[in-house]
């Protein structure tokens, strides 16, 4: 890569970084909105590793259970993929998924721009 190309790429990298940060900020805001909408009682104590077994699923509020069960079936998925199965908006699923991450039931992993949510069945406990 020559010097000119390198200089040309830098603003692009900065913009990409800003976009990623805005997306993360947006996710956090979605979680906060959902928490306010459904009340703090739905977001139990933030746990580090809370196994998502069937009894936990049963004790969840309906809106979170639907998302959690879809992740159970898919194994690993993005908010977009979950929303295709639940027929709810991607932003809504993103908020619920992040809420489940905060509760310690799901793990989240970024791969480029995509955020994947999954159950860490092997290492939880």
């Amino acid at each position: 890569m020559n010097k000119e190309e390198s200089i040309g790429r830098k603003p692009l990298q900065v913009l990409e970084k800003i976009r990623d940060n805005l997306e993360r900020l947006n996710e956090k805001m979605e979680v906060m909105i959902e928490i306010q909408k459904h009340g703090q009682r739905d977001v139990l104590q933030p746990l580090s590793d809370a196994p998502m077994d069937v009894m936990t699923l049963l004790s969840m509020p309906d809106h979170l259970r639907k998302t959690a069960m879809t992740v159970c079936r898919c194994g690993r998925a993005t908010a977009e993929e979950i929303s295709e199965q639940t027929s709810r908006a991607r932003a809504v699923e993103s908020a619920y998924l992040n809420q489940l991450v905060i509760m310690g039931h799901l793990k989240k992993e970024r791969n480029g721009r995509k955020a994947y949510f999954y159950l860490d069945r092997e290492n939880i406990g």
Binding site: M52, D53, V54, R73
Partner: protein, 263 residues
């Protein structure tokens, strides 16, 4: 990824003794008789019984081993196709009946149960992806046991075996409201051991109960057959009594499920 090629059916009930295992085995045999490839899984780890009905006292590996992560599913499958009628495959995955295994399964923790659910869900990929099986039938423990709820969560359709017993009717209604509905499960009802099942009044009464009290489709009314009691679990009706009325009822249930008339 979800494979639409096959379906998982969990046979469940509120109380014990409603005929879950009888229905599971005979439904599996009826589907196999119709040419479907079936795998019957015993998930009643507290009281394993398929091994006795299918007369397989030993197995290379058991359903317990698969859920423990000690073996792959193919090691826990027993091929019984040659002893069943029809062209369909009939495989079974048996629960280990030893006292030690029953005790071991009753002491599992939440983490293990979560992993077991993962392994049950993985069966869809393993057994349906290649088109090897059309149906997986889970014979479960009654009531709210971990293993049965895992089976319900993994299933596409839950067939509930119930009787006219007052406590069973009450418990089944509650289970429908508080369990299946929460998991948004497709459910269908089989009322077993019905006296006067042939009478129009009884059929209307049961239809009304299914619609109003249970609010789920009624798959069939199974009369109380003395032959079933006399057989003491030793007969698989589609194979041993092809002309028996119970065989015909099970054939109708299998056809309804196969044609997805469970709405």
């Amino acid at each position: 990824m979800t494979y639409k090629l096959g379906r998982i059916i969990a046979v469940h009930s509120y109380k014990g003794g409603t005929g879950k295992t009888l229905l599971s085995v005979n439904l599996a045999a009826s589907l196999a008789k119709e040419g479907r490839n079936v795998c019957l899984v015993d998930l009643d780890f507290r009281a394993p019984s398929l091994f006795a009905i299918l007369r397989k006292e030993s197995s290379e590996s058991w359903a317990n081993d698969y859920l423990n992560g000690d073996c792959e599913i193919n090691k826990a499958l027993v091929d019984l196709s040659s002893s069943m009628p029809g062209n369909g495959k009939f495989f079974a995955c048996l629960a280990n009946p030893s006292t030690e295994s029953i005790r071991d399964m009753s002491t599992k923790d939440r983490k293990w149960e979560m992993q077991a659910l993962g392994r049950l869900l993985a069966l869809r990929d393993t057994l349906f992806r290649t088109g090897e099986f059309d149906y997986l039938i889970f014979d479960t423990s009654p009531g709210l046991q971990y293993s049965s709820i895992n089976a319900i969560v993994a299933a596409d359709l839950v067939v509930i075996a119930t009787t006219g017993d007052r406590s069973d009717v009450n418990g089944t209604s509650r289970m429908l409201r508080e369990l299946y509905k929460m998991f948004e499960k497709k459910t269908a009802l089989v009322v077993n051991k019905v006296l006067d099942a042939g009478s129009k009044t009884k059929q209307e009464e049961m239809d009304a109960r299914a619609k109003t009290q249970y609010q789920v489709p009624l798959l069939a009314l199974v009369p109380c057959f003395c032959e079933i009691l006399r057989a003491e679990g030793g007969l698989i009706f589609p194979r041993d009594k092809p002309d028996h009325p119970f065989t015909k009822i099970m054939g109708e249930i299998a056809r309804k499920i196969d044609s997805d008339q469970t709405q």
